[in-house]
Amino acid sequence: MAAGPVAQRILQGDRRALARLISDVEEGREEAREVLRELYPRTGKAPVVGISGPLGVGKSSLINQLIQQLRTAGKKVGVIAVDPSSPFSGGAVLGDRIRIERDPDDPGVFFRSMASRGHAGGLSQSTRDAVRLLEAFGMDVVLVETVGSGQVDVEIHDIATTRVVVVVPHLGDEVQTLKAGLFEIADVFVVNKCELPGADLAARDLKELATLAVPRDGWVPRVVLTSTVERKGIGELWSAVREHESAVHEGGGSSEVLRERAEREVRGLLQEKVEQLLQEELLEDPAWARLLDRLMDKEVDPYTAADRAFQELKRRL
């Protein structure tokens, strides 16, 4: 597809256009989808490194030093840092930039903070879209930072090509590592703040976990010790990421896994459209409000209400 004017500006390295397009993507604007369509063929090649872990383990500080490492190696780096939105006010304080020390005029870095905005599933799509835009913009590597409770936040799984999970010493005993979720998705484990006592123990537990795991693409998760205050282990971290990237490439990437991921994305987009259809066909109709009134008066139960609404929707299609 021929690139339109906005896509052209992205390809030419216009930072303002990129920044605005990411906003449009977050808002789910149709114009942004058009640009994504045009840029899509130029995406999917750059390593996308997910950096996840609980609050306060040092993810932003690690990213700061990774940026420096990558810039020294001549790589251009895009960063998306996701922080939670308040479920009460919808607002957010996005504070990941305070750890970043860089030359503000360096065109080889683009750092964007994103709030989770509380929409289930929607975050992964806007993050994925923003990653694609950064790649089309010419970034050689994209880093995506997300807060993980350690047990549930695994959205990054489908977006990243290498998943780094960051912990610190004394985060919990080895039973924590047995729980389902974040620990299952890691390709590389980082024990940050390794200058603190207990780091070796944490690394040992994770290594044990990693050896017991069923290898994906023939890869056994690595465990790396880092300290951002002592500037240790960043090179090792990047080597582990690179090794994982080449292991996946050599293995051709498990095509089944890639297919499942692609399917999940399209299903997500499809669900968005279904939701929109629901909105337009049903929820804006006065009959919907009347149905809710009857539900409130207990004239109808929620199961019957949903059945009736569904029948109505099918009738209208």
């Binding site: 605005r20 006010s89 607002g91 504070g95 503000p104 905005r117």
Partner: protein
């Protein structure tokens, strides 16, 4: 209800107001900036907190990347007559004058008048209420020039 520029409905997500809060220069008194950041968050805005010791170049680069509607500068060092005009100048250079700027801190009246003339949209001194700051941020975001 999340604060935004319009009504929220599925399919057409509303963008919350985005504000960059930064402290240019060398003073380390960031309590005020943090209180303002939190108040704007509670008013439903997305606050990018850039923190201490930022150069005007850092601030403008961050504002561009984050596509903010507003930059809020907190200065208690007395260097506002140098730092604030520099931020405005950089915004002009990068053709980003649609980004609205407000400032807070210890800024004498005569300096405030001069900074307003240069393009600062609001200046908050000691005792400014959070309510006023929130309302000003909302008004400024509404004024941000339509996208090109």
């Amino acid at each position: 209800m999340p604060e935004g520029k319009g009504r929220k409905s599925p399919g057409a997500k509303v963008r919350p107001i985005r504000v960059l809060i930064a402290k240019p220069g060398l003073d380390g008194h960031d309590r005020g900036a943090k209180v303002v950041a939190r108040a704007l968050r509670d008013a439903g805005m997305e606050v990018i907190y850039a923190g201490l010791r930022q150069t005007p170049e850092d601030i403008v680069a961050a504002a561009m990347e984050e596509d903010v509607d507003i930059i809020g500068l907190s200065i208690l060092s007395g260097a506002h007559n140098v730092l604030v005009p520099r931020v405005l100048e950089l915004l002009k250079e990068r053709r980003a004058i649609d980004v609205q700027v407000f400032a807070g801190g210890i800024i004498p009246d005569e300096d405030a008048a001069r900074l307003r003339k240069l393009g600062v949209k609001a200046i908050f001194g000691p005792g400014a209420s959070l309510e006023t700051i929130i309302q000003t941020a909302r008004d400024l975001a509404a004024k941000r020039v339509a996208r090109v």
